[in-house]
């Protein structure tokens, strides 16, 4: 899923203070799972904004709504009746949600309330971990299902660097060394021999380095 965090109210306000009616729109998918932009967080943000404006003796119209998914047109259209009555949409979707709203409601300013961070998993309640960079050529099968591109701070493909100490990354103590994880896992699987082979330079053309990516599938079109 996509993992995001809510911005500070002050930063959100700098972007929306110029408007007098605000439609706050959440997304009840990924960003609900990471407790950043789901139904609950949408209500909380709307309440926090009302409070914040009241302190400044301002009283903009604030309406909240939450979509099941903010990145799919069928869902986005469900707020169509609310949009004309508001000057701006404040989105609690990920970056994709914000831009999908902007495509559908092309004459409305759309302001992000979240910082979108990464593709990751919920390790446990309250802990989310990045583990995929979407490079477009999944090699997890060679690395014991631990991604060197994501979990190694230097994207190393041929083993741990000289900064790996007691299973920790040189960048920060709280980052586990991705290569230590790969090796433990392959050791458990009895597949450490996979690491003796030279891995050639990665073809980054399928990653964002090749430009924004797009999939067109005729068999899926209506």
């Amino acid at each position: 899923m996509i993992v995001a965090e809510i911005k500070e109210i002050a930063e959100i306000r700098r972007m929306i203070d110029r408007y007098s009616s605000i439609l706050v729109v959440g997304c009840d998918s990924c960003v609900a799972e990471c407790a950043a932009g789901g139904n609950r967080e949408t209500m909380l943000l709307a309440a926090a904004l009302r409070l914040s404006y009241r302190k400044d003796n301002k009283n903009p119209v604030i309406t909240e709504s939450c979509l099941d998914r903010q990145c799919v047109d069928d869902f986005i259209e469900r707020i169509a009746h609310l949009v004309p009555d508001h000057e701006v949409i404040l989105s609690l979707g990920c970056g994709a949600g914000v831009q999908a709203l902007a495509r559908v409601y092309s004459d409305k300013p759309i302001i992000p309330a979240l910082d979108t961070l990464f593709i990751g998993e919920t390790e446990m309640r309250g802990i989310w971990q990045e583990n995929c960079l979407g490079c477009g050529q999944c090699k997890l099968g060679y690395f014991g299902a631990v991604c060197p591109v994501t979990r190694c701070s230097k994207k190393l493909m041929n083993g741990p660097c000289g900064g790996s100490k007691a299973g920790r990354c040189e960048v920060r103590e709280d980052i586990p060394c991705g290569w230590d994880m790969i090796m433990r896992r392959l050791d458990t699987l009895g597949e450490l021999d996979r690491l003796e082979e030279y891995v050639p330079p990665v073809d980054w053309s399928t990653s964002h380095s090749g430009g924004p990516r797009r999939i067109v599938r005729e068999d899926q079109k209506p």
Binding site: S153, G159, L195, Y198
Partner: protein
């Protein structure tokens, strides 16, 4: 000979070689670099020119290599993959060779979060082993990555680093073997303070037949003070300074600590020289290049072979 490198000539003649690090200045000050270079002239067989080490912005290593070569040094160009993608790295290899540089040390580099440009993009398009293979393919196949031919390909003598003190220990020799297989001709190790751990690393390298295929230069760093010892132990990536070394320096008054650091460096040189498969030493006297002649003199290796 695979190359015109003087370092290669010395190593293949079986000479015990001495290299030393010479860090470029944090600016365009040529005389500062030349002064550092002059301290080392005649005492070392080659100088390593660091590439924005610890991710601090410094004069480019290609430019500094060229300046030091002008003084009469044999430069070893350090190249990290942190800051440049494969286009820039390969282009700089062409340029360095055109300027007469014949040795390259291929590194990934310290993460940029250590340096003074923490907001930078970390490039890491290649890793150090892929860079070794790239330089090797230029020399042996006359090609760049992807297989296109090069007109007048650079023929570099290829170095790589090894850190016997990083974890997991069992992996360190496997990684060394990968570097050798990718094309490394010589290896310069991380600073050695834990000699027995280095010995174990060398034993395994010998058992795997690696010392036959690659020249290993043992890394030596003189400690200036107890503070530096503690700092290196705690803060420098991939460094191990054992407690007994820290205690040995800390036990002395401040004004005697630098001399003790030099004494430890000299003892380390004497001990690593005895280890089978050690082909030379690499001195990293951080902002202390002027002490290198004294250290080499005390270790009895100040006189360099002529070729």
């Amino acid at each position: 000979m695979k190359t015109e490198s003087r370092l290669e000539k010395l190593l293949s003649a079986g000479q015990f070689v001495v290299t030393a690090e010479c860090g470029p200045p944090r600016g365009a000050d040529v005389s500062a670099l030349e002064n550092k270079g002059r301290c080392l002239l005649g005492y070392v067989d080659a100088v390593n020119v660091t590439d924005n080490q610890t991710a601090i912005v410094r004069m480019s290593s290609v430019a500094a290599c060229s300046i030091l070569k002008g003084l009469g040094h044999e430069p070893i160009l350090q190249m990290v993959t942190r800051d440049r993608n494969r286009i820039a790295l390969q282009s700089d290899l062409f340029g360095a060779y055109a300027l007469g540089i014949r040795n390259v040390l291929c590194l990934t580099g310290d993460h940029h979060s250590f340096g003074n440009q923490k907001e930078a993009v970390g490039v890491f398009d290649l890793d150090s082993i892929q860079l070794v293979k790239t330089v090797r393919d230029m020399r042996e196949e006359g090609t760049i990555i992807g297989g296109a031919d090069i007109q007048a390909p650079p023929k570099m003598f290829i170095g790589a680093a090894a850190n016997p003190f990083a974890d997991p220990p069992e992996w360190r020799v496997v990684r060394l073997a990968k570097k050798v297989q990718a094309g490394a001709d010589f290896i310069q190790t991380q600073c050695i303070f834990n000699i027995s751990r280095f010995e174990r690393f060398m034993n395994r390298a010998r058992d795997m037949g690696l010392t036959e295929k690659v020249s290993i230069l043992a890394g030596i760093t003189p400690l200036k003070s107890a503070g530096m010892a503690r700092y290196m132990s705690a803060k420098v990536a991939g460094m191990e300074v054992p407690e007994d070394i820290i205690n040995r320096i800390s036990a002395l008054p401040k004004e005697e600590q630098a001399d003790e650091g030099i004494k430890i460096a000299v003892e380390t040189i004497e001990r690593v020289r005895e280890i089978e498969g050690v082909a030379g030493i690499h001195i990293m006297a951080i902002e202390w290049e002027e002490k290198v002649p004294e250290i080499l003199g005390a270790a009895g290796i100040a006189k360099r072979p002529q070729i």
